[in-house]
């Protein structure tokens, strides 16, 4: 019989990092090597409970294990947060189309992340690190709710030291220990050293954040075709069959999850 597209592959939880009170990064070691392209997503199974879609946050160059950074929000993620090292989960995928790195060649890249939306972007950053000669510069603008909600705290400082990288972070609600910008992520999208005629913007975060960042980018002069958005819905099968993630004429799972705003701008209610 042919391949069963619904069957998960076994993966062991090798490590767990508590990123924030509600976010953990799980390192998974699948039974067999598992490759993905940055921006593609997987379906992660909690045995007996069900699946949920996540975009891996690790370096796509590493085939034998992957990181998935997960915020506790629903049934599957709550159960995942209770799980321990050594326990077994399932994975299916990878699904969809990732970030079109070839289109970013020779460009200034503006990466805008919000909250746990930095997870897929971290995998993108790893991909950029290994091909950095292809790009002029990389700006990362990251916003989280409070300083305690920042993911990959230890890494952001290191990334900022890299050649060609320019990183600014912001929190919505400040506190005395926070030295950086206070305000929504849109407040740090200004005075950017970027050539708008030769730039691509990559946005990932909650829908409301992506909406206002997109509006801001358009306002700044970005063209719709140069704005890349990571869309998400309740993807179930990942293969364009179950019908849950339709958006206009697309299925997010197979035609996305990365779309340009140009592709989406005429579709109703894309941020809902």
């Amino acid at each position: 019989m042919m391949k069963n597209i619904y069957q998960p592959v076994e993966a062991v939880i090798e490590n767990i990092i508590q990123e924030t009170s509600a976010i953990k990064t799980f390192t998974l070691k699948p039974k067999t090597d598992f490759s993905f392209v940055t921006g593609q997503f997987i379906e992660l199974t909690v045995p007996g409970l069900g699946e949920a879609p996540f975009t891996p946050s690790s370096d796509p160059g590493i085939k034998e294990r992957m990181d998935v950074t997960i915020m506790k929000t629903g049934a599957v993620t709550s159960k995942l947060h209770e799980m321990q090292k050594g326990q077994v989960v399932g994975i299916r995928g990878p699904f969809g189309k990732g970030y079109p790195l070839h289109k970013f060649k020779g460009k200034d890249l503006l990466i805008v992340g919000g909250g746990v939306g930095l997870a897929p972007l971290r995998s993108l950053l790893f991909s950029l690190f290994s091909t950095i000669d292809n790009y002029n510069k990389v700006l990362l603008r990251y916003g989280s709710r409070t300083a305690n909600d920042i993911v990959y705290k230890g890494s952001i400082g290191e990334w900022a030291k890299r050649d060609k990288f320019d990183i600014v972070t912001s929190v919505d609600i400040g506190d005395p220990s926070w030295q950086g910008n206070v305000g929504l992520v849109t407040t740090i999208l200004k005075d950017m050293p970027i050539d708008l005629n030769n730039a691509s913007a990559i946005v990932c975060g909650p829908p409301i954040m992506m909406k206002f960042v997109t509006l801001k980018l358009l306002d700044l002069g970005f063209k719709p075709k140069d704005i890349y958005l990571s869309m998400e819905k309740s993807m179930s099968c990942g293969l364009g069959k179950c019908g849950h993630c339709r958006l206009g004429k697309f299925y997010i799972c197979k035609d996305g999850p990365v779309f340009t705003y140009e592709e989406l701008k005429d579709i109703h209610d894309i941020w809902d």
Binding site: N4, G50, E51, G74, S234, S236, K241, G243, K254
Partner: protein, 370 residues
């Protein structure tokens, strides 16, 4: 291969079925009474009985009929079951158990169902093995489709509005057309040919007279159905996408949903709906994965963890269904995902009628407000 047509007399239809049941699990049409009656409001006297498909070995032979129109259940139920185990993990053996199912033979399928199978095939099959639903594919390729002409239609039938004829010319293995004291039998596939070869004594080549007799009957049904549909004024298939797009903010969606009780009947009886949810259960030391029908008229269809729901209001869900059928599918396969079978009309306790909605959308776009 060239399609051959034979004549099979009434007395021999059971022998024909008996031959098929040797290799297949055969389903045949049986008449049934349902409380659902949609009366015709302009004087046509149309049948209101229904047909269901029952397993041949489980019915009294005298109950078996030739159904005048499509059966109650959509044909997809034979290939994509309402709730089906599609995986077991993480047992030592994660390879699928070879389910020893006899392939099905389905008699009583009509052309609306054949049209719908094009949509189901588009969704569940594919050029690439990585996206093929193996359970659907196995059943679909092994099945024997015994379609039939529609000598009649019921009130809810509207296939011809979308230029779908009430008789089949392709997509079947056998097709039966009632004629005089028997049937014309079209043989349209290798597997059908093999069966026909083994019962050659029952079959006589169709004469030109019989073939033209069939054409005349088909034309007569079309004329009557077209007259029926002229009262419904259903928009042509060429404008469906346009009117659904134009009607995005129409009040129709709100008005129609006033009587919706969210039973999901329309999505589950629909011949072209295909949505499902993968749902997992504990099963002993193992876990199993089920593929369960789902649909966009149900309120949690697009709900995500954290509570967001793109289709949170009922009118959005009704509209979504029309966008899917008349916008998404036209963009993706070039034709609408509606075959005019009218099952959603028959089943709806709220009397929500797809023909009425399409007509209203058309009127709003093209007729000046008075």
């Amino acid at each position: 291969m060239k399609m051959e047509t034979y004549f099979l007399s009434n007395e021999d239809i059971l022998k024909f079925y008996d031959r098929i049941v040797k290799d297949y699990q055969l389903y045949v049409p049986v008449k049934t009474k349902t409380p659902i009656k949609i009366a015709c409001d302009y004087g046509f006297s149309l049948p209101t009985d229904d047909y269901i498909l029952k397993e041949y070995s489980a019915v009294n032979k005298e109950e078996i009929v030739f159904n005048e129109y499509r059966p109650i259940e959509p044909v997809r139920t034979f290939f994509n079951q309402y709730k089906e185990e599609v995986g077991e993990y993480f047992a030592q053996e994660t390879i699928e158990k070879d389910k020893k199912e006899k392939p099905v033979a389905i008699s009583g399928i009509k052309n609306c169902d054949i049209f719908s199978l094009k949509i189901q095939d588009f969704v569940f099959l594919g050029k690439d093995d990585d996206i093929v639903d193996p359970f659907y594919k196995k059943r679909r390729q092994d099945a024997l489709i015994i379609s039939g002409d529609c000598p009649g239609f019921k009130e809810a039938c509207f296939c011809r509005a979308f230029d779908i004829n009430p008789y089949c010319e392709q997509g079947f293995d056998f097709n039966l057309s009632v004629l005089n004291n028997g049937y014309l039998v079209d043989v349209n596939s290798k597997k059908a040919n093999l069966i026909a070869g083994s019962i050659r004594d029952l079959l006589t080549p169709a004469t030109l007279g019989q073939l033209s007799g069939r054409s005349a009957k088909r034309d007569a049904v079309i004329r009557k159905l077209d007259e029926h549909l002229s009262h419904h004024k259903i928009p042509k298939k060429e404008v469906l996408q346009e009117i659904v797009k134009a009607g995005h903010n129409s009040q129709i969606w709100h008005e129609q949903m006033r009587t919706c009780v969210e039973c999901g009947g329309c999505i589950f009886m629909c011949d072209t709906c295909h949505c499902f949810l993968l749902s997992d259960e504990i099963s002993g030391n193992n876990s199993k994965r089920l593929r369960v029908w789902d649909g966009c008229l149900l309120k949690n269809f697009t709900r995500v963890a954290g509570g967001g729901n793109a289709l949170k209001m009922r009118y959005m869900r009704l509209r979504n269904r029309y966008i899917k059928k008349f916008d998404f599918f036209i963009d993706n396969i070039g034709f609408q995902a509606c075959c005019g079978c009218g099952r959603c009309i028959d089943v709806c306790p709220g009397r929500i009628d797809i023909r009425n909605i399409l007509r209203r959308l058309y009127d709003e776009k093209y007729l000046p407000a008075s």
